[in-house]
């Protein structure tokens, strides 16, 4: 077996996996605090990528500033979504809530198509680093960027959960919403915060991916499906599981694209998902992360 080709597949798996991990982390944060699986999560990825690409290409803003604006726009979208659409529906039950997030996904996509059309947009790289070459395989500058940013964001997020007041409130809400509320935690504010953070992670992922794969206004639902797949792989209620699930999904896709056929990479990922749902509906890594 060709070792450098195998390593190259690992590299591309890690890169796309890091992206999935970001988006899945958002799915998991929202699910933990509110019990909602957000079908609009992929739209924030699209929003982050599209805003950043538009500002950089049309307004000639520097790439880091454009990306930051993309993240802020996505986060604002998440906050508005939670405050105006999710909170009023909290008591309506699981089914209407899924429909609300689905409806918002459809609405955001429809607005994006009106605004941007359906053509994909490109974006310049955030950092131009010397690519890493190991045994004939190359880890590109964009890949290194996305991996570093993921690592920093993860450390910051765990510190936020451990050390800050809001982070602790979020963890308490995830364990039991009613008990958290009875202890004086403003659960509604926690839910808004979790949607905002999830959308920010999604937007950041979208902005970082656009230099690698161009983003189009209609790419959101595909992203949602990937993110939920990744989150389910790892266990949707666990942020660490979601990150692991994202990396695993990226790896499965890269390997099946490399060794089977790129046509079937989605099929293989979907089959893995369905089999997993049948066998372990709580996710692969739940037993591992339970103690953490």
């Amino acid at each position: 077996m060709d070792l450098s080709a195998a390593l190259q597949f690992v590299f591309s798996g890690i890169t796309i996996g890091a992206f999935y991990a970001f988006v899945a982390l958002g799915v998991s944060i929202v699910f933990s605090s509110s019990g909602i699986v957000n079908f609009a999560q992929g739209q924030f990825v699209m929003l982050g990528g599209m805003v950043a690409a538009t500002l950089a290409a049309n307004a000639h803003w520097p790439v880091p500033v454009a990306m930051l604006c993309g993240v802020v726009a996505a986060a604002a979208g998440g906050a508005v979504m939670a405050r105006l659409f999710v909170l009023p529906m909290l008591r309506a039950g699981e089914f209407p809530l899924i429909l609300v997030t689905l409806g918002l996904g459809v609405l955001i996509e429809a607005l994006a198509v009106v605004f941007w059309g359906t053509d994909p947009q490109m974006l310049d790289s955030l950092l131009k680093i010397e690519p890493l070459r190991v045994m004939g395989a190359t880890l590109s500058s964009d890949s290194i960027t996305i991996l570093c940013v993921l690592a920093i964001a993860l450390i910051a997020f765990t510190q936020f959960l451990r050390r800050t007041r809001w982070g602790r409130a979020m963890r308490a809400t995830a364990i039991d919403r009613d008990v958290a509320a009875s202890l004086g935690i403003n659960v509604r504010a926690v839910i808004v915060l979790s949607f905002t953070m999830a959308a920010a992670f999604g937007g950041l992922a979208g902005a970082l991916l656009t230099p690698i794969i161009s983003t189009g206004a209609q790419s959101g639902f595909q992203m949602t499906l990937k993110a939920i797949t990744a989150a389910v792989l790892g266990g949707v209620a666990s942020p660490i599981g979601a990150v692991a699930g994202g990396l695993l999904l990226g790896m499965i896709e890269a390997m099946s694209s490399g060794y089977v056929s790129s046509t079937y990479q989605n099929v293989i990922a979907s089959v893995v998902l369905i089999v997993l749902l049948f066998l372990r509906p709580r996710g692969l890594f739940t037993a591992l992360t339970r103690q953490a």
Binding site: I98, V106, V114, F221, I228, T229, N266, L273, I274
Partner: protein
């Protein structure tokens, strides 16, 4: 309930006499055919969705599976199209039944995702095996269905075929809603544990509703492609499943009347909004979101509530 039964008789009568008024207008007839096809899909989904309270995003998969079954049988093997429709229904029913038990054990969100993944798999397989399915460009020149030497090759004839099938589906759907199974399903939607403790065989009832929710989109898919005369995988994407969810949410997801209301709305509204074509997806999305948030029983439910309120005020 009484007015409901009357409405049940009204619909076949309207369906028969409607062509007297619109028979000369090809565009109106075309709309009526599409309404009939969407309605057939939605009858199947109302059982899963509104009455059983489960979110299945598989309609596109079964719609496509049925469409390709009858298209391939008729073009590759020369099977009569009407038999192809039957084969489409049977195949979708069998697959639906086989998938039902493992799938329906899943909670709402996981079911939605699993059915979405199922549709994704099917769509990719269709695109990838182009020597059989024609790949992304599909198959053109599909034959019209025929009964003996009578061909359903004009819009008017096709209209009657579509509505005969739609009304038959409605009759089945209506009987299921009123039968023990329908009552059992409603019980399921309220509380699965409660239903089970009342002696309802939860797994069997769910398998039933999922099977019927697979057969009807399958047949409707066949009806659509032989009407259009061509088939391509673009008609059977996730977007279609989401459209069906929107139809049911806007029309009213807990009654068959809601399915009809929604089906009419999604076919007629784009025509009315033709001059704002760019914005029509936005308007749809707003309508969908508004219905979910403010009219949980959809337009049909809101209309029924208004009607019974009016009747009560008249009786006072």
């Amino acid at each position: 309930m009484n007015s409901y039964r009357k409405a049940g008789w009204l619909l076949p009568v309207v369906a028969i006499i409607l062509p007297l008024f619109i028979g000369g207008l090809p565009s109106a007839l075309n709309l009526a055919i599409l309404v009939g096809i969407y309605f057939t899909v939605c009858i199947g989904l109302t059982l899963i969705f509104g009455i059983g309270g489960q979110l299945s995003l598989a309609p596109a998969a079964f719609y496509g599976l049925g469409a390709y079954t009858s298209a391939l049988l008729s073009t590759r093997l020369g099977v009569p199209v009407l038999l192809g429709f039957v084969a489409a229904g049977v195949l979708c029913g069998v697959i639906g039944w086989l998938l039902a038990r493992p799938l329906l054990r899943l909670r709402a969100v996981y079911l939605a995702i699993a059915t979405l993944a199922f549709g994704d798999i099917l769509n990719t397989l269709i695109r990838a095996n182009s020597e059989i399915t024609g790949g992304s460009s599909g198959i053109v020149n599909l034959p019209s269905p025929a009964l003996g030497s009578f061909e359903f090759n004009t819009p008017l004839r096709y209209y009657f075929l579509v509505w005969a099938i739609a009304l038959f589906a409605l009759w089945i759907g209506n009987n299921i809603v009123k039968s023990r199974i329908g009552i059992g399903l409603r019980g399921l939607a309220e509380s699965e544990i409660g239903a089970a403790s009342c002696g309802i065989d939860v797994a069997r009832y769910k398998a039933w509703m999922f099977t019927i929710g697979a057969i009807l989109p399958g047949v409707a898919g066949g009806l659509l492609v032989h009407y259009l005369g061509f088939i391509s995988p673009d008609s059977f994407t996730t977007q279609f499943s989401i459209l069906i969810v929107m139809i049911l949410a806007v029309g009213g997801r807990d009654s068959l009347l809601g399915a009809l209301t929604g089906a009419i709305l999604v076919t007629v509204l784009p025509i009315m909004l033709a001059s704002y074509e760019k914005y029509s997806p936005v308007i749809f999305a707003v309508l969908f979101l508004g219905s979910v948030m403010f009219m949980p029983k959809g337009l049909a439910g809101a209309a029924m509530a208004a009607m019974s309120k009016w009747r009560r005020s008249r009786n006072d």
